[in-house]
Symmetry: C2
Subunit: 145 residues, 2 copies
């Protein structure tokens, strides 16, 4: 059930950028704030850029900012962009060897559960989880703000 590190770190990056308003942030400062590796974050930011959730401004004074309004970023959408797949069991993916797949009704129950999970997350936006941005900023020691 665990989210991938890609999803976990993506959500942290989005929360960081969202609580920094429109200021351009760097991967280095986000890595430092969360105490996680810059290398990991580069891959994360790359994926977020491809999906339009983050915008990268190049150049000497460049950096990162949100690619969309926090109220438009649904958490379900973030996971769809960052999870490798939602293969709860092998028959959801291409390498299925289960002998009862053809008649199995369990997969319907699991698909419904997955749908309920993502529907709940689609009811939350980034804005909802950074509504306490002052506290978030202080926890991340963004003292330069």
């Amino acid at each position: 059930m665990r989210l991938t590190a890609m999803s976990d770190y993506s959500l942290r990056v989005l929360m960081y950028l969202g609580s920094s308003d429109d200021r351009l942030c760097t991967i280095a400062e986000i890595a430092r704030a969360y105490g996680i590796s810059e290398n990991h974050l580069m891959k994360v930011v790359n994926r977020l850029g491809q999906s339009g959730l983050v915008e990268t401004v190049r150049g000497r004074n460049g950096g990162l900012r949100l690619g969309q309004d926090p109220q438009a970023i649904r958490l379900g959408e973030v996971l769809r962009a960052t999870e490798e797949d939602f293969d709860l069991v092998e028959c959801f993916g291409p390498d299925d060897t289960c002998r009862i797949t053809r008649v199995c009704r369990l997969k319907h129950a699991l698909r419904r559960a997955l749908k309920a999970y993502l529907a709940e997350l689609d009811g939350w936006t980034l804005a909802d989880i950074i509504s306490n941005r002052q506290s978030l900023r202080s926890e991340l020691n963004q003292t330069y703000l």
Copy 2:
């Protein structure tokens, strides 16, 4: 998001036993029917026995059968008995190092999503997913029935 092998195999065992009515089944035949290892299944059956979902009858003519009526076995309950944990992110478990845990609102969204997922599965019973037991039996080549 993937279920553990323990959960996956547990559900398969329960479906097998449920579609075998009250006949005592053996680990060997279930392993053969699904083409999975007996060793794996022994651990699975052990866990299912501890949680009361499966009943083991010892002796020469012994074997396994469901410990509860199929209509009483909710799928959410099976996962609660078989998943190691439901730690979607590190702050759900004991080894949390995330720097914003104290003020983070993401965890509330994730807990709600997990709750929706399990609630959906609690709406399904084993009886629901073995209502086509003739097809299941035929798929599992239970020709001796």
